[in-house]
């Protein structure tokens, strides 16, 4: 009955995973940046599946429109594209894989043990229905007003710092 939705979900899951793995192993920095793009798109689609449409669109705007563009700029500013792409090798492959798979096993073990219907908030709560955007907006301006204002300080620090650090005028 829901076969189509399931197929689409699986498609985006695979897109996300495959491009994430490719990003982590490729030696070409430009390819890594582009596979990160696919990961971001896949995750954005998954947000929409989790009925977080606003977050999904924000993901496209902030991550793809902002962060990824900056990363590509970073790649271009730091790699001799005209000459030859700088190869980025891996080290500590074995120990890194071991540590990560240990954490993964731990996570999987506990996830498999969970009976989600037992969680108190799942038992009582209702699933989100309809549009969550107005709720997020109201929350930002009421309950989360202080973090919303303080994050302005963070953005200011970032602007200030980026121009201090990357500016050509030396101290």
């Amino acid at each position: 009955m829901y076969l189509l939705q399931e197929i689409i979900f699986v498609f985006f899951t695979l897109l996300t995973l495959v491009s994430a793995v490719y990003m982590a192993i490729t030696t070409n920095v430009i390819y890594a940046a582009f596979s990160l793009l696919l990961t971001f798109i896949g995750v954005a689609a998954l947000y929409i599946f989790a009925s977080a449409e606003f977050i999904g669109l924000t993901q496209i705007m902030i991550y793809i429109g902002g962060i990824l563009i900056l990363i590509v700029f970073g790649v271009m500013l730091t790699n001799k594209v005209g000459n030859q792409p700088i190869r980025a090798k891996s080290i500590n492959t074995v120990s890194g894989l071991l540590l990560s798979s240990a954490l993964f096993t731990l996570l999987m073990n506990s996830i498999m043990e969970i009976n989600f219907s037992k969680l108190p908030w799942i038992k009582n709560g209702l699933m989100v229905s309809g549009n969550t955007t107005p709720i997020i907006g109201v929350n930002l301006m009421t309950q989360y007003l202080l973090p919303f204002e303080i994050i302005a300080v963070l953005l200011l620090v970032a602007l200030l710092g980026a121009s201090l650090i990357a500016g050509r005028k030396d101290n």
């Binding site: 506990s110 969970i114 969680l119 007003l145 300080v153 200011l156 101290n171």
Partner: protein
């Protein structure tokens, strides 16, 4: 709350002031005045009914007032030493000051948080400012490396911390400390993701406060940053980090202490041991102080391990910060004169400049934990409470490593008193302004007074 607003406004004011041509003294004056005003606004909250602001996003009680006072007091103390550091900055002076003010905003948000959103944003404001300050010597490769390593490790730690927060939210359904506390104290069977969340939060916070084995970035970052920034990171930032760490674990997870107490005691043992063992071989005093800050982090973590007695933490951070600042101020002067921070640069310092030699000796004694100094009383309080909580092995390891510590702190003292300076070094003039002398005097007196009658600060909270 008013403290936070004042500091943010002072930061903004300084940035605007940068547009006009104002003197260095005026900038310094504005920053100091701002901090004094913030401190006054903070002390006004002392012993009032705990106040919650903005839908309980932050909640200020005596614990927070005490730690914010420590953060502001220590940074004012440190700013008195800033003349040489800021003197070297030719361009964008006010922006540097503004970054310090904003990092203080972050620390205050971090200490007084009542919701994990505030904790997260506070940590980020602090970290982002520090990444920049660590790299502020743009032409120095070590400074670049410090900045880059700190940034990459900091961002990685943030990711882990956030995963922890998310899993705890998944289990408890709340970001408020009270909601999480309720979930953990409810007595119902806890979801496995709550444990993993707790564990990941522990790892993330350990990264941020440089607890072993997550401390590997510390020596390079502390060594590469400008010495003033190193002093700032190893004192003020540590106070804020541990205040948040203790608050989070004390309020949220103390009811399930039996699940994490063993992990934390292993971390404590590793931290004090690795800190002491690696400090032995160091030839540079700056690196030695970096490793010593790792091993002191182990002692501060013991308070988290006991899960009670915020007084001990308060006393320890104050004693440690004052001793460190005295050590760093001497280091800054010696580094200025000799051009490097090697122990050999300290040889014969007592003859060339007795005040600096004596100040360094007192601070080393205090960091090593020799009786009659503040550092000794701080260690006694913490080790007593750890022993009473039944962690005999931790106390044993701590005492053994403290003895190792005496060895490397005394290496510096021996260099100061029993070695003779080279002819060239005898001619060094240590450019100590009157502000430096005032700080050294206050520091020495505070170390000794706190060592003899610790009750001035202890038992306040």
């Amino acid at each position: 709350m008013i403290t936070l607003v004042i500091l943010a406004l002072v930061g903004l004011f300084l940035m605007i002031a940068g547009l006009f041509d104002i003197s260095r003294k005026a900038v310094f004056g504005v920053a100091m005045t701002g901090m004094v005003a913030a401190l006054a606004g903070n002390l006004y909250m002392w012993d009032k009914v705990p106040m919650a602001y903005f839908n309980r996003m932050i909640l200020i009680d005596n614990y927070d007032v005490a730690f914010i006072t420590a953060v502001l007091g220590v940074s004012m103390f440190l700013f008195l030493l800033s003349e040489n550091y800021f003197g070297k900055i030719q361009n964008y002076l006010t922006e540097h000051y503004a970054l310090y003010m904003f990092s203080l905003v972050g620390m205050i948000a971090m200490i007084s948080f009542n919701n994990l959103v505030m904790l997260f944003i506070g940590i980020e404001i602090l970290s982002v400012s520090l990444y920049i300050l660590a790299g502020s010597e743009k032409n120095n490769l070590s400074s670049n490396e410090a900045s880059l390593k700190y940034f990459l490790m900091g961002a990685f730690a943030t990711g882990i911390l956030l995963m922890g927060i998310t899993l705890i939210y998944g289990a408890s359904g709340s970001f408020y400390l009270s909601g999480i506390e309720q979930y953990f104290t409810s007595g119902n069977e806890l979801s496995p993701i709550a444990y993993i969340g707790m564990f990941l939060v522990l790892v993330g916070m350990s990264f941020k406060v440089s607890v072993a084995p997550f401390h590997f970035w510390t020596p390079d970052v502390y060594d590469g940053s400008p010495t003033f920034v190193t002093a700032f990171m190893s004192t003020v930032v540590k106070i804020a980090g541990f205040a948040a760490f203790f608050k989070l674990f004390y309020i949220c997870f103390s009811s399930v202490i039996h699940y994490w107490v063993e992990v934390v005691s292993v971390l404590v043992i590793l931290t004090v041991t690795i800190g002491a063992m690696t400090a032995i071989t160091q030839k540079s005093v700056k690196r030695l102080l970096a490793y010593s800050s790792v091993s002191h982090a182990g002692y501060m973590l013991m308070v988290v391990l006991v899960g009670a007695d915020a007084d001990n933490l308060m006393f320890y951070v104050v004693a440690y910060s004052i001793s460190s600042i005295v050590a760093f101020s001497v280091l800054m002067l010696v580094q200025e004169a000799a051009g490097n921070a090697e122990i050999t640069s300290f040889e014969g310092l007592a003859k060339v400049n007795p005040l600096l030699g004596f100040a360094m000796t007192v601070s080393m004694l205090s960091l090593a934990g020799i009786p009659l100094t503040a550092g000794f009383m701080a260690k006694v309080y913490i080790l007593t409470s750890v022993f009473n909580a039944g962690h005999g092995i931790v106390v044993l390891v701590a005492i053994l490593t403290a003895m190792v510590g005496i060895y490397y702190y005394f290496k510096v003292i021996i260099a100061i008193y029993f070695k003779t300076a080279t002819e060239e070094r005898k001619l060094f003039t240590y450019n100590s302004s009157s502000l430096f002398k005032i700080v050294l005097f206050i520091g020495i007196i505070a170390i000794i007074v706190l060592g003899i009658c610790p009750d001035i600060i202890h038992n306040l909270i």
